[in-house]
Amino acid sequence: MKPLVIGVGNRWRCDDGVGPRAIDALAAEARDDVELLILDGEPARLVDAWAGRASVVVVDAVRGGASPGTVHRVDALGGDLAVAASPSTHGAGVAAAVALGRALGRLPERLVVLGTEPACVGDGGDLSAPVAAAFDELVRRAAEEVATACA
């Protein structure tokens, strides 16, 4: 089974759009060793997408308290993801999906979250300058994760 890369986010919310944009960039490489998917981050759909998979990379905006544009890599099965601050359904995302997947026994064998620290997640169709500057590195590291999975 090919590795799966899931881009999560909303491309009309500035730096939250890095996930879908990274999928666009990987699709442009026309690789046949990977499956690509864009999702909005709703936990049930994420769990459905990755259940039974060997290797999954999720690309998303990641808040870690670092300077904007910093590329984070998190082993999601290692328990390093913090749940979003908002408890409403609108705050549910990748961390909630990992928790749900764990409770249901529906996690992939390998699950890596890659993402850039956002500067802005408000309205807007463009990445901020620091995230745009880090974008190529983000895509390159996503491709490296796929290569690692295929090795």
């Binding site: 408890p87 359904t89 609108h90 249901l104």
Partner: protein, 438 residues
């Protein structure tokens, strides 16, 4: 702690498991509840403002963005209102396909609320993740059912969130008969799951909260209401949809960016599953009727805590309806009728999962929108939710603060409020004044 005469402030930073963000404030003085407010401080979204100046063809796509859970409701009410303004009646095949799309939304939205938002309350846990640890098969069943609802939305609407196949006059393209026939086994599976869900929720322990809200829903002939041209209540209200503005006033209140609605000369009212069920139980499909009977629901249901059972019954009904529409489906082309613009005002209302959703548009002769009004179910229910909260806190004032705040949250979640629709985040605070707490 002496409870009867206590006063003070209890606060909780956020109310979880609601669609959107808001806050609740409960004020208690000398051991009595003196004020309750559901504060919606999500920023106003100004949809009615920026619809002005847009073409009459645009509201289905623009207003769908109001909500990711019930976009079909916005699309359907918008279409009906614009078509009403333009004097166009769509053929029955369009109405039936709209009904099929709407069934997908009822299935996914109700199933989301039943399993991920409401059921954890009855197990005393904080989330569906904790619920999965206690009853994993139930959560898996819920996720499977919700997924089928989403698949139906994708099949008819083009995608599950903010469907793209809806236009005024009908659809951009009616689906192939073969595609719907192929989907039939999925609906049969959904029906089977939904019946099991109804039995599951019927076994919960329900607190008692007697309410006496006027219950308001659409009337749709001999059908359980999704569409309908009359708005009726259990107390004799029976008006045309076009008369909604003359009977319902919207009020700005200082503590909410969502307007409150009330019936003129009648007061607070409630829309949603309890209203639909109480007004139209006999119009449910046969399997939904049997599921309601087995779940112990009588001829009416006024207990907001039992709304979870009614939602489950409505999912059974939606599955039955979807199967009926699929079995009678004949593809049609084009997928829509022309809706030439004219200067007029039109009204449309449909039953969103959370209740009656009203749209009004005034067009000029070129079809440009000069005025718009959207009254979502949560805005209509807000005063009744506050009423429930007041009486539930009053009746349970002896509970320790933590328990009281938690129970207060549930009285809000009973109504599945969509705060983003009404204008997101719920902080809970209880002020107790008058005597020092001991």
């Amino acid at each position: 702690m002496t409870h009867k005469a206590r006063a003070g402030r209890l606060s909780r930073d956020a109310l979880p498991r609601v669609e959107g963000e808001g806050a609740m404030h409960v004020e208690i003085a000398d051991g009595e509840v003196v004020d309750v407010q559901l504060n919606i401080y999500e920023p106003p979204r100004f949809y009615e403002g920026f619809l002005r100046g847009r073409a009459h063809t645009e509201p289905p796509d623009i207003t769908a963005r109001i909500c990711g859970i019930c976009p079909v409701a916005y699309q359907m009410s918008a279409c009906l209102a614009i078509e009403d303004a333009c004097g166009v009646t769509t053929p029955s095949e369009v109405t039936e396909l709209r009904r099929l799309l709407y069934c997908g939304e009822w299935i996914e939205s109700h199933t989301l609320h039943v399993h991920m938002l409401h059921a954890p309350d009855f197990f005393g846990v904080d989330s569906v993740v904790d619920l999965a640890a206690l009853d994993r098969p139930a959560v898996e069943r819920g996720l499977e059912l919700k997924k089928i609802g989403n698949e139906l939305l994708e099949l008819v609407g083009g995608r599950a969130i903010h469907p793209v196949n809806v236009r005024i006059g009908g659809f951009y393209r009616a689906p192939d008969a073969a595609a719907l026939r192929t989907f039939r086994p999925r609906l049969e599976r959904a029906l089977e799951l939904a019946v099991d869900v109804t039995q599951w929720v019927a076994g919960f322990d329900f607190p008692v909260l007697g309410t006496d809200h006027e219950l308001v829903a659409l009337a749709d002939g001999d059908r359980y209401p999704v569409f309908g041209d009359r708005i009726v209540s259990d107390r004799g209200l029976d008006i045309a949809v076009a008369d909604f503005p003359e009977h319902v006033e919207e009020i700005h209140v200082a503590h909410s960016t969502a307007k409150h609605a009330r019936l003129l000369a009648r007061g607070n009212y409630l829309v949603g599953p309890l209203a639909r069920f109480t007004l139209a139980r006999e119009k449910l499909g046969p399997i939904a009727t049997e599921a309601a009977d087995r779940a112990g629901l009588g001829g009416e249901c006024r207990d907001p805590f039992r709304s979870i059972v009614v939602r489950a019954v409505e999912v059974v009904h939606a599955c039955e309806e979807a199967l009926r529409v699929v079995d009678g489906y004949v593809p049609f082309a084009p997928g829509s009728v022309d809706v030439p613009p004219r200067a007029a005002t039109g009204h449309g209302a449909t039953e969103a999962p959370r209740g009656l959703l009203y749209h009004r548009y005034t067009l000029d002769e070129h079809g440009i929108i000069v005025d718009a009004d959207i009254v979502p179910p949560t805005a209509q229910n807000q005063p009744s939710i506050e009423h429930d909260l007041f009486h539930f806190v009053e009746a349970n004032i002896d509970l320790p603060d933590d328990e009281l705040a938690r129970a207060a949250e549930v009285t809000i979640r009973n109504h599945d409020p969509c705060i983003s629709c009404a204008t997101h985040f719920l902080d809970v605070t209880v002020d107790r004044r008058g005597e020092a707490r001991t």
